[in-house]
């Protein structure tokens, strides 16, 4: 049932060595065999059924921001095995494997970038790195990003994709929920806007901290979002779960998020939000808004 590999798609990325070379891709939702070139042109959205494949952090960043504008911070911060945790294999080994397969040192990448003429702080979680789980280094990088947004008074965009707190770091991981939330409390008090984008999947401790604290919360269609997993709920309660339980659309219907936005429309919606919440002389809202309407063709932000 859980086939993470088939849920990813490799889009052209400015960073070499990231993503897998795949000839054909089967859509996990409609079982169509998809052509990678067409899928890439569609930003990793199945051109038959609209299924949103998971994106790696570099791909997400390239898709969202103006080419060459992203300046990564804290690239060197790496997870450490403080507890000496070993399950079926040592945590230290899992970290090495994730670093090798993703080319990143942690499950989160952050930096300043430009989006539709707005400078902003962009924080992107990567589910491919240990399920996007939040350990101490992850929480540290996210908090650094939040604090930068506060210090520089730049709007904050966090793109979440995570299974929750990283169990291999025990309580040090759990405390990152408090740390990131406390930092967001200060950001909110300072009046700096925070947009939270939830992507498939966003679960557990990440949902119970920074992901659900956005001034505006957006989700991609079909993304699974929640606290406890459906399997855990069924084992605990024997409840029959409603159709579409914990999907983005379910959360919208229950008043938990503001918008469900298809990936192709994200750049235009983010531009509109930034124009509204962070108007600047460099990016006067109305002008850009009119331009956006004229040129809001399918894929404005794919680079290279």
């Amino acid at each position: 049932m859980f086939r993470p590999k088939t849920r990813y798609v490799a889009l052209p990325s400015p960073r070499a060595g990231v993503g897998e070379e795949i000839d054909r891709l089967i859509c996990p939702k409609c079982d169509t065999s998809l052509e990678p070139a067409r899928l890439t042109a569609a930003l990793g959205v199945c051109y038959r059924c609209g299924y949103h494949f998971r994106l790696r952090a570099p791909e997400r960043i390239a898709m969202l921001v103006e080419p060459g504008s992203f300046r990564e911070e804290d690239q060197a911060i790496t997870a450490t095995d403080v507890l000496g945790f070993t399950d079926s294999q040592p945590y230290a080994k899992r970290i090495e494997q994730s670093r090798a397969t993703t080319g990143a040192n942690e499950a989160v990448t952050w930096g300043e970038a430009t989006l539709a003429g707005h400078r902003l702080v962009l924080v992107v979680l990567d589910f491919a790195f240990m399920g996007g789980s939040m350990g101490a280094a992850t929480g540290e990088k996210i908090t650094n990003g939040i604090e930068r947004a506060g210090q520089s008074r730049l709007p904050l965009l966090i793109v979440s994709a995570s299974g929750g707190a990283r169990m291999q770091e025990g309580m040090l991981a759990l405390m990152q929920l408090a740390k990131t939330s406390a930092a967001l409390g200060r950001l909110a008090a300072a009046g700096v806007p925070y947009i939270s984008l939830l992507t498939d999947p966003t679960m557990g401790g990440v949902t119970a901290s920074f992901a659900s604290l956005g001034d505006v919360i957006i989700a991609e269609p079909g993304a699974m979002i929640g606290f406890a997993g459906a399997r855990v709920i069924q084992q605990a309660t024997y409840e029959t779960l409603p159709d579409g339980f914990q999907t983005a659309e379910f959360l919208l219907a229950h008043g938990m998020i503001d918008l469900v936005v298809p990936r192709q429309e994200l750049p235009a919606v983010l531009r509109q939000l930034l124009d509204l919440y962070a108007p600047t002389a460099a990016a006067p809202g109305l002008q850009l808004q009119r331009q956006a309407k004229k040129t809001a063709a399918p894929a404005p932000a794919v680079t290279r």
Partner: protein, 271 residues
């Protein structure tokens, strides 16, 4: 038995003590340590959650605000308390009490005792994660002293949802974990029977948290555990709460809130 095996067995003993059915629960401590406790009800949104209780009480000459996770002892009370697993309404009631405590300058004393937030369809529909996250923000910035005392099980985000504060105190045989050992074993080992190993690996005992610099003080329990002498356990807990509250009350509010921010900020900091 190997060294590793015996260490794990000792850890498991701690887990079982933390969950001992005769162990004192939050109300046992509240009634023994404070006077005049008046339980308030409801989140003013949807309902009243009996897994999280709270209200004002007298502690020496001051009023404090109690927020506590409450387990049940009889079969019917266990069901009524939902086995100490709160729904969003419990966290929202707690939030209401945090706001009230700030308004009237009541220090907050939180008793943590839950295996986790309730994993239910209704809890998800009503935003359990949203409710917990709001509490993390509110508690981290609340302009009153906050003492957190783990009396039994501290399970995951459900515990942290009332557990952010200026001091973390733990009863000697309490545990606090990112995930309950059973859940951890079934996810990482794909075998719930490996819960004993998981418990050891998670570093969840009071002594572990003290070593990690997360818990400030371990409160000694009567020989064999708190279930053997409620009075003695409550006396020790009350004395520790009194001492820590006194030291927090001496700190100016701005500094108190800044120190609380830094307390969490430095967990896992790289520099």
């Amino acid at each position: 038995m190997s060294d590793n095996g015996s260490v794990a067995a000792a850890t498991w003993e701690q887990v079982e003590l933390a969950r001992h059915p005769d162990r004192p629960y939050a109300l046992d401590y509240v009634h023994a340590i404070f006077s005049n406790f008046l339980e308030l009800h409801g989140d003013r949104v949807f309902g009243d959650d009996h897994a999280i209780i709270g209200g004002p009480a007298s502690f020496d000459s001051r009023t404090i605000m109690v927020i506590a996770q409450q387990k049940g002892r009889s079969t019917s009370e266990r069901a009524m308390r939902n086995f100490g697993m709160a729904n969003p309404e419990g966290y929202r009631k707690a939030l209401r009490l945090v706001r009230q405590a700030e308004r009237f300058k009541f220090p907050i004393v939180a008793f943590v005792d839950t295996s986790g937030a309730f994993p239910g369809a209704g809890a998800e529909e009503r935003g359990i994660a949203w409710a917990i996250a709001e509490n993390l923000v509110a508690l981290s910035a609340a302009r009153v002293p906050i003492l957190t005392l783990v009396i039994g099980e501290g399970g995951s985000g459900g515990a942290l949802g009332i557990g952010v504060g200026d001091r973390l105190l733990m009863m000697e045989h309490s545990i606090y974990s990112v995930a309950m050992p059973e859940a951890c074993a079934s996810i990482l080992w794909r075998d719930i029977a490996r819960k004993v190993e998981a418990a050891e690996a998670l570093k969840l005992t009071a002594a572990d948290l003290k070593r990690l610099g997360l818990a400030d003080e371990i409160i000694p329990e009567p020989p064999g555990g708190a279930q053997n002498d409620y009075g003695q356990a409550a006396d020790a807990a009350g004395a520790a709460l009194r001492r820590h509250l006194k030291s927090l009350e001496a700190i100016a509010t701005d500094r108190l809130v800044e120190e609380r921010y830094q307390r969490y900020r430095r967990i896992g900091a790289t520099s």
